[in-house]
Amino acid sequence: MGAQVHGTQDFDQKKRTEIKFSDAAMATVKEIISHYPESKIKSALLPVLHVAQAEFGGWLSPEVMDYVADVLKIKPIEVFEVASFYTMYNLKPVGKCVLEVCQTSSCWLNGAEDIVKYIEKKLNIKVGETTKDGMFTLKVAECLGSCGTAPMLQCGASYHENLTYDKVDKLLDKYKSEGRQRNYTDLDYHNTL
């Protein structure tokens, strides 16, 4: 039903029918929906998109957005217009770990550019790209509210603050050796390195 509204992305009906939240994710979604009056469950869209993104590989495909529309009983375009507005939703496939380096004023004053260059060199990718092994995507972000502990990067829900090259090395090594996807609920290594 939502094939037309997703623009350039191909819509795969077969894939669409295979998409379904796990029981655990569905329980979370129902809990979120319960926070709003019955006639206003569209309000649950932003938090539910986070759940969907974590559940289906770190990004929102047209099929996933269509599924979310069904779950919340709204139109697919209502999902797409929101997913495309907010920066935290990925509309293209990303690596298992999305590294978001803050680049705004206080972080810049404390060497954020050096951190970005260092990671670019280390992973042999540019900002916006994903490593060939699909492990890392490097992004830059606007102010993440970590100005007093700059420079910093976010991965999943974890903040890594007061970064040094050494901390970046340790972090990337750990992520790489574990090799799993980090989504918005993942808090491991949060400021512990």
Partner: protein
């Protein structure tokens, strides 16, 4: 408000309660009418701590109260103004201070349901607040018939999706309704038609937390803290080239010089450098050079108050704003710093209004010319011209927020722009090797 921040376990209900937590809920629900609570807030002179500084009691008194229509309290925890991280600190360290404030404020406003809208990137903070809410439910501070009274209240957290514009209250409400965060045209104001068209009050995290001490000590006593119309305490998040970045609770009225140089607060400039400039209240307020941030144009010491920081208007003054205090040392390139601000606003413009959507992009492009050595002198005038055509011509204040830093940088540091344009080469000394110093 955060004087207990170093107490071990203060994030838990048990320890928070042992240190006098939730007393304002007890006092309000048992001994005061809702209107009496609002009156105390009015008397306290509390002003919105999110940035605009609008009197909170007045905002509350605008709330429409039609029969049979639900009213809502919404907490704005979408803290995204560059340089600001005080709300994060408060929620992370003493989450119950916010929840206590939500309950007491909701009682005053007659709101049966409230929402705390937290920016998506602060997901781990949202989790801390959610856990605190669970504790509060279990202990009977939330839910039905709180403390055996007929006041019932539910409080929920919603996480955003990453958009600065949702810090604007009507953009936030749109987002809370599951839409793009496009700010609404006002009037009607949220006090009349807010969340789902119902009367709504939107307050910043710190504002809501400040309601607790106001109820406890009484509005008049609270108003004795501070100077003049800047009453109470304010959380300041200090960052940049200072020895002790962090969140500080100050009594409004201390001198700016003391805040920057005293060991109790910022502890002076890092590496023995001299200070060049300060952004005093988050990225959108005008940047001031050292001489104007320490003293007003009249030569009086500049104080940490709404009035003193604004003394001299935008010609020689600035604003207290959100309390995001960014300090820059003598090696900092004002032009490059401005570029990071302008890139930010271009990225965060919601795109509804042409002057903001197009203007922020043009300003970013022109500033980029300064960085890659292709700027000409007349670009300074062009920048000035563009910013002047954004201010006051947009639905929401993001237009002003984007224009003011550009205007102030040109106003106070014009020569720097001209020098770069003349040299045809951008020499950025401000960030090279900084990190090596940190590592070493």
């Amino acid at each position: 408000m955060i004087h207990n921040d170093k107490v071990p376990g203060i994030a838990t209900l048990e320890v928070y309660r042992a240190h006098g937590g939730y007393a304002s809920v007890e006092k309000a629900l048992k001994n005061m009418t809702p209107d009496q609570v609002t009156d105390e807030v009015k008397k306290s002179g509390l002003r919105g701590r999110g940035g605009a500084g609008f009197p909170t009691g007045l905002k509350w008194s605008f709330l429409a109260k039609p029969e049979g229509v639900p009213r809502y309290l919404v907490c704005n925890a979408d803290e995204s103004e560059p340089g600001t991280f005080k709300d994060r600190y408060l929620m992370e360290v003493i989450p119950h201070a916010l929840i206590e404030g939500m309950i007491t404020s909701s009682y005053a406003l007659g709101a049966k349901v409230s929402y705390i809208y937290i920016r998506g990137e602060y997901f781990y903070v949202a989790r801390i607040v959610e856990n605190a809410i669970k504790e509060a439910y279990a202990a009977g501070w939330l839910g039905k018939n709180i403390l055996g009274t007929d006041f019932s209240h539910d409080c929920y957290v919603q996480v955003g999706g990453g958009a600065y514009i949702c810090g604007e209250e009507t953009g936030l409400l749109e987002s809370l309704e599951g839409k793009r965060g496009n700010p609404r045209i006002k009037p009607p104001f949220p006090a009349v038609a807010g969340l789902w068209g119902c009367p709504t009050v939107v307050n910043n995290v710190e504002t809501i937390a400040a309601v607790c001490p106001i109820v406890m000590m009484g509005g008049e006593e609270y108003a004795k803290i501070g100077i003049g119309k800047s009453t109470g305490t304010k959380l300041i998040s200090a960052s940049g080239h200072i020895n002790k970045p962090g969140t500080y609770e100050i009594e409004l009225g201390i001198p700016v010089e003391e805040f920057i140089y005293s060991d109790e607060y910022c502890g002076g400039i890092r590496n023995g450098k001299k200070m060049k400039a300060v952004v005093a209240g988050g990225s959108s307020v005008p940047i001031l050079p050292t001489e104007l941030i320490l003293k007003t144009a009249k030569g009086e010491p500049r104080l940490m108050t709404y009035e003193s920081l604004a003394d001299g208007g935008f010609q020689t003054g600035t604003m207290l704003g959100s309390g995001g205090f960014i300090v820059m040392d003598e090696d900092t390139s004002i032009v490059k710093n401005l570029f990071t601000f302008t890139r930010f606003y271009h990225h965060e413009s919601c795109g509804q209004c042409s002057p903001c959507r197009e203007g922020t992009g043009w300003m970013e492009k022109i500033l980029k010319k300064f960085l890659n050595g292709t700027a000409v002198e007349s670009d300074v005038e062009l920048l000035w011209d563009i910013q002047s055509k954004i201010e006051g011509k947009t639905i929401c204040p993001l237009g002003e927020a984007a224009a003011w830093p550009v205007a102030a940088a040109i106003r106070h540091f014009k020569q720097e722009f001209i020098d770069i344009a003349k040299s045809k080469k951008f020499v950025d000394v401000s960030h090279y090797n900084r990190l090596n110093k940190i590592t070493a």
